[in-house]
Symmetry: C2
């Protein structure tokens, strides 16, 4: 295989469509048709498309997309540190093009790349990457598969993975197209092992952003630190090891939700399990979504308003030594013939999985009232490398 393994792609190659197309075609060998007519790239309309560049991968702090697909891939046996670097350079070129609404290098369906779809791509590295020769000392602290919780019913089909692609957009066609390109370009290096598609409605009827609701009808994600706040930075961005500064870790948990038994509850039973009001997401001691939880508040009979086993209490940062996570859920439905499984693709970003996420997970597993209607069937953990700048590439400090 010929490829750009021995040279750094120039800024022109990464940014110019023609140059990037040639680089991509060379690396993927016979799998793309070099002789194809490629249309002129449309002038991108940048109004709603995020820049692919920055200190951080840009989708992490952005709003949850309307549609998303996650694909986990396992490395082929032949993929060593250098090959992984080649893949990251290929993906970087793909991401720069696709997020601007331009065809990826060697794109076989270039018309499906459209600007203004707010397409984003986030890439993660699973724990096994850090067992490759040359990478063992670079492993972020605590980046290990999560221990199996008592309530977990993990299926291998939804768990683990050496690499993650998380593509989001306002438009499902754009998501499917981008994923197809990224997975195709990875073929010499890695093979898809699971795919999860999800959706979210983070826009109110008046067009303004809202937190959004899961399929139980709950407002889901109220407790998050505000993007851009100092608290957000401290929660999400890793400060080491050096290559990983500005990166984060991502936990992906596939949680089935039993809508049928949930629907058998009264609304007050549902609200008691969560500790928040269904109507607004306000804590049961308050009236507005972002009111502070009062974990000591009691009703006239002396009972805690937010029960001991309420989800909102057990997941609150005040009972987690002040440590927070940044969570972004995606609703999913998965059909097998006439049978539908419904649930949440739970995504949690944090600087430190072991320090921030695991204690909370253990506490929820031990006592969360919601465990009666939810079951985690998939679990995976990834290091999300920092962002890249023009001319740079994903995980460059790790792999160059």
């Amino acid at each position: 295989m010929t490829g750009p393994s021995s040279r750094r792609p120039s800024r022109r190659q990464l940014l110019g469509y023609a140059g990037a197309a040639a680089a991509g075609a060379a690396v993927t060998g016979g799998t793309v048709a070099l002789g194809k007519e490629t249309p002129h790239a449309a002038e991108p309309v940048v109004a709603r498309d995020l820049s692919p560049y920055g200190d951080h991968q840009p989708a992490v702090a952005a709003a949850t997309p309307k549609h998303a697909e996650l694909v986990a891939l396992n490395l082929l046996g032949s993929t060593d540190r250098a090959a992984l670097g080649r893949l990251m350079r290929l993906w970087t070129a793909d991401i720069v093009a696709l997020t601007a609404g331009r065809p990826a290098p060697g794109d076989t369906a270039p018309e499906l790349a459209v600007p203004n779809a707010a397409l984003t791509v986030t890439v993660g590295l699973g724990p096994r990457v850090f067992t490759l020769p040359g990478l063992t000392t670079a492993k972020p602290r605590g980046l290990d598969a999560l221990p199996v919780m008592r309530h977990d019913r993990l299926l291998p089909a939804w768990s683990g993975g050496d690499l993650l692609i998380l593509v989001g957009a306002d438009d499902a066609v754009s998501v499917v197209h981008a994923v197809r390109r990224l997975v195709a370009d990875a073929a010499p290096f890695a093979k898809a092992v699971w795919r999860q598609t999800g959706f979210w409605n983070g826009t109110g009827p008046d067009g303004k952003p809202v937190t959004g609701r899961n399929l139980f009808g709950q407002v889901d994600g109220t407790g998050n630190p505000a993007a851009g706040s100092p608290e957000f930075g401290a929660t999400v961005w890793a400060t080491g090891p050096e290559w990983f500064t500005g990166g984060t870790t991502l936990v992906v948990r596939r949680i089935t939700m039993n809508l049928d038994t949930w629907d058998e509850l009264t609304r007050s039973e549902q609200e008691r399990a969560v500790g928040r009001k269904l109507s607004t997401g306000a804590p049961l001691n308050g009236t507005a979504e972002h009111d502070e939880l009062d974990l000591e508040a009691r009703d006239a009979d002396g009972r805690l308003l937010i029960a001991e086993n309420a989800h909102a209490r057990l997941s609150h940062h005040s009972v987690n030594d002040g440590r927070r996570i940044f969570r972004k859920g995606l609703n999913y439905v998965h059909d097998t013939g006439a049978t539908r499984e419904s649930g949440l693709i739970f995504l949690s970003y944090q600087a430190d999985v072991a320090g921030q996420f695991l204690p909370m997970l253990a506490r929820l597993d031990a006592a969360d009232a919601l465990n009666e209607w939810t079951t985690t069937i998939g679990s995976a953990v990834f290091a999300v490398p920092p962002g890249f700048r023009e001319g740079g590439w994903l995980a460059q400090r790790l792999l160059s």
Copy 2:
């Protein structure tokens, strides 16, 4: 079971949330929690929500939604003509509420009903409905399961069905919520046998409507008659039997598309198979999407520009005795673990399945170049009753 079977729901019951909720709760018996607190219905924001009323079910002529789900249900043995009428009245009340962004009667997740999602519901009746006592003489002409074509590889899991619900919206959460309500309310009468979810991008980067593309990258649907034109009416709306006037028939075909082998073609090979340009959807004899097909045009070497087996030729109304269909595709992906199936949920509306659709289907089956990359794995046919007016209900003229 108590219910409104012996009385016609009043306009107030169908339109008023409180009245409709009581009616719905009574009919579905123990399956909804009567004692639940129901939130005040929000004032609907009607800007983007279609009226549920009219001569026709409103989604038929409307643009393809961004997201849609189709559910086919089979009648329970106990569901006779009268029971089917009860179900249609229940669904009508659901549809009136849900399309305005209000909770359905007895809604167990009322907060998931949001206005301005452009939600629509279309209901269809499969051929077996017209074998029920009292309905055999009402069967629309030609409403039979399609004959199995030579290239078909039909799976029972994606075929047939006594009833159809087709829910579309701009937002996937709204679709999932509406489907859940409609299927739950149908539980005493019918059981889901297949579900298909699809998506479409009918909006250009500048926000203006476009025809949209399938996952081969083709502009798909250019040949349709313009909604609202006399030609559209003649193509789509049935004129009999009397109860069915203003109705239409809907063919649902699940067509897998082999993206991998398609991608091995050059662009000119792809365009030759379709007979249109990938860039614009223009016929190979033209330059703009809506240019007329010239089926006699030849290149400098005397070869037909639009090949004898090109899809655009064989599906063109001029080779179908001038008869047209109105087609609306939905892209789909369906995952089983790491394996992805991609394709198109092909929807064709026409006044007369046997007269308009079948001859074209037979011609395509015999010779369409696209048959090499596509396989139909599901097939179903439904009569789509006319619309209803305020105080009326779905299929009222058939079932009252």
